[in-house]
């Protein structure tokens, strides 16, 4: 190695440089070695299970054997299963409860905390901090807030001589309770995404607006909001994808009850595949979820694409 480096640079003719650069960028099979390890795991643990799952969804299967081909039998059973239909509705309801709330509160916080003061920095840290906790801790915290008698909520209501709403056990409130815990858990990400969008708005537009005597509302409506419109769409889609995958909060806070009213699709899959061991039907349910999430992911791709195209 050393003696090679010792050869004076003049010993390399210009032609040698060209040859080397052609050599660098020509397609070569041996270059594949660098991507091969990842592609191995990607294929074995993602692509194979993906297609295996599709195949399973057309079979009646349990843990160790993949039984008979049943065609669309699992899907037909699925769409005749009231619990499944309920879980699809529950998931949409949950997304409807959480996503607009997360987007609007996240935007509000970002607008308020987009400044260089120490207070703003501390509050930003605070609002993001819940995002690093695991679902187990978050649900533990919120169950103790909602629990009757010793709960924070019932203690606060108790000071005013009132009874706290039963966010876990009341059928009409249970999903709202889960949504509250989820918003508390997830608010950091939308806030941060909005903050980074706000910081990209050129400051001189605001200075020009101030010179034109624009008030706060006018500035917000005609400068800030139009500049972050795309981020808003992005935040909504990212959150739809995330919240569609609701599982831990529902499983740990209510077990899907009362009366399956808080059972989301993923919990239905978990129940069907891993507690009743009806793997074929569980696989069919997960394909339905996959299609729903894929549609949202497509929308995200289109939004980020058009952003890149415009820039």
């Amino acid at each position: 190695m050393d003696d090679r480096r010792a050869t004076p640079p003049t010993a390399l003719p210009a032609a040698g440089v060209r040859a080397a650069s052609i050599d660098i960028y020509a397609p070569q099979w041996r270059n594949f070695i660098f991507v091969a390890p990842f592609l191995f795991f990607f294929t074995m643990l993602l692509l194979v299970p993906l297609f295996w799952g599709m195949w399973l969804s057309f079979h009646k299967a349990d843990t160790f054997s993949s039984g008979n081909f049943v065609g669309f039998g699992n899907y037909i059973r699925l769409f005749h299963d009231k619990v499944f239909l309920q879980s699809v509705w529950n998931t949409f309801y949950f997304v409807l409860l959480t996503v607009p709330t997360l987007a609007l509160i996240g935007l509000f916080l970002a607008l308020c905390l987009n400044r260089r003061t120490r207070t703003a920095a501390v509050l930003r840290t605070l609002f993001f901090s819940s995002s690093v906790l695991s679902v187990t801790i978050v649900t533990l915290i919120w169950r103790i807030v909602f629990i009757p008698n010793v709960g924070l909520l019932s203690t606060i209501y108790g000071w005013f001589g009132a009874t706290a709403p039963a966010f876990i056990s009341d059928p009409s409130l249970a999903m709202i309770g889960i949504a509250i815990a989820t918003v508390w858990w997830c608010i950091g990400l939308p806030m941060m995404l909005f903050l980074s969008a706000l910081q990209q708005i050129p400051q001189d537009i605001y200075e020009a607006a101030a010179l034109d005597n624009a008030n706060r509302w006018q500035t917000l409506r005609s400068i800030t909001l139009p500049s972050i419109k795309r981020t808003f769409v992005l935040v909504v889609i990212v959150q739809i994808v995330l919240q569609f995958q609701l599982f831990g909060q529902a499983w740990l806070m209510t077990r899907g009850g009362p009366n399956n009213l808080t059972k989301p699709i993923v919990l239905y899959i978990y129940d069907t595949a891993f507690r009743r061991w009806d793997l074929g039907m569980g696989a069919a349910a997960s394909e339905v979820l996959f299609i729903l999430i894929l549609m949202a992911a497509m929308a995200q791709y289109l939004v980020t694409r058009s952003k890149a195209g415009q820039a």
Partner: protein, 282 residues
């Protein structure tokens, strides 16, 4: 110049109203946590008699002593460290190699393969869960460390991130190295990899945090108590939640499990925020 000055004055008042609102929201963020910490410091008998007793002494560390002494919490923390650490290390190695390959090298089918890897970003864990579980059953991978680590190695995000990062490094650097007769791997290892440390940190923190907090796969794969990760183990002790005897103890466990990750967050805040928001936007 006078007009802007007036509007800035108006701003100061509005700012205070908004700040008050934000501080109110921040109370909603903090109060539940303080409540949990308060409960963790109380005797159960006293709590049951009067919930308001949280606000005054006597406080006790008994629940923490019990957490450390009697529960399997240390086994679960150990498992979580092995699984999260293993997955992070594996992801960094695979993603760096593949990122360099996709960004810098040419091989037949490269572009098609990269599109397929990108497609992996859109596949949610739940879509492959059932089949993965069946494959792992056949291979006897359940209740093992590799059974918990392997699924995460198939995530495309790291490859995507590293490819972008390698692409941003000037090509002249590799060309100079190649002229020095360094091999492909040497160029990667000695010249380019040291430049990707910020991306490694982002990806590493994101992967570690995700693995540490993962719940669904460990719940399905680790069914033996001594193979639980911290999230699954903690969740398993919550089942007898309504019973009166355990609340202070459960809360002590929650604080015990949550505090370290919050402290780490305070130190690595900038990286964590970048990692998480970067992963969301992709």
């Amino acid at each position: 110049m006078r007009a802007p000055a007036i509007s800035i004055k108006g701003r100061a008042f509005g700012d205070r109203v908004l700040l008050a609102l934000v501080i109110l929201l921040s109370l909603v963020m903090v109060a539940p946590v303080l409540w949990v910490i308060g409960l963790s410091l109380k005797e159960n008998a006293e709590l049951m008699a009067n919930p308001n007793s949280v606000f005054h002494a006597p406080y006790t560390l008994k629940n923490y002593v019990n957490t450390i002494g009697t529960s399997s919490v240390f086994v679960w923390v150990f498992n979580s460290i092995i699984v999260s650490g293993g997955l992070t290390l594996g992801t960094l190695i695979l993603s760096s190699l593949a990122g360099y390959g996709f960004a810098r090298l040419n091989f037949p089918g490269r572009n098609v393969l990269f599109v397929i890897v990108l497609f992996g970003l859109a596949v949610p864990e739940q879509a492959v869960l059932v089949a993965r579980h069946q494959i792992f059953s056949m291979l006897n991978f359940h209740n093992t460390y590799h059974g918990l680590i392997l699924p995460g190695l198939s995530a495309s995000f790291g490859v995507f991130l590293m490819t972008q990062y390698f692409k941003a490094i000037p090509k002249e650097l590799d060309e100079a190295a190649m002229l020095d007769n360094a091999s492909r791997f040497r160029t990667f290892w000695k010249v380019l990899l040291p430049l990707t440390v910020p991306a490694q940190a982002t990806l590493g923190i994101f992967t570690f945090l995700g693995a540490w907090n993962d719940y669904l796969w460990p719940l399905i794969s680790a069914t033996k108590k001594d193979m639980y990760t911290l999230t699954v183990g903690m969740a398993s002790t919550q089942t007898n939640f309504a019973q009166s005897e355990g609340i202070g103890f459960l809360m002590a466990q929650a604080v015990f499990a949550g505090a370290p990750i919050l402290i780490v967050y305070l130190f690595f805040q900038k990286y964590i925020v970048t990692a998480v928001s970067g992963a969301a936007v992709r």
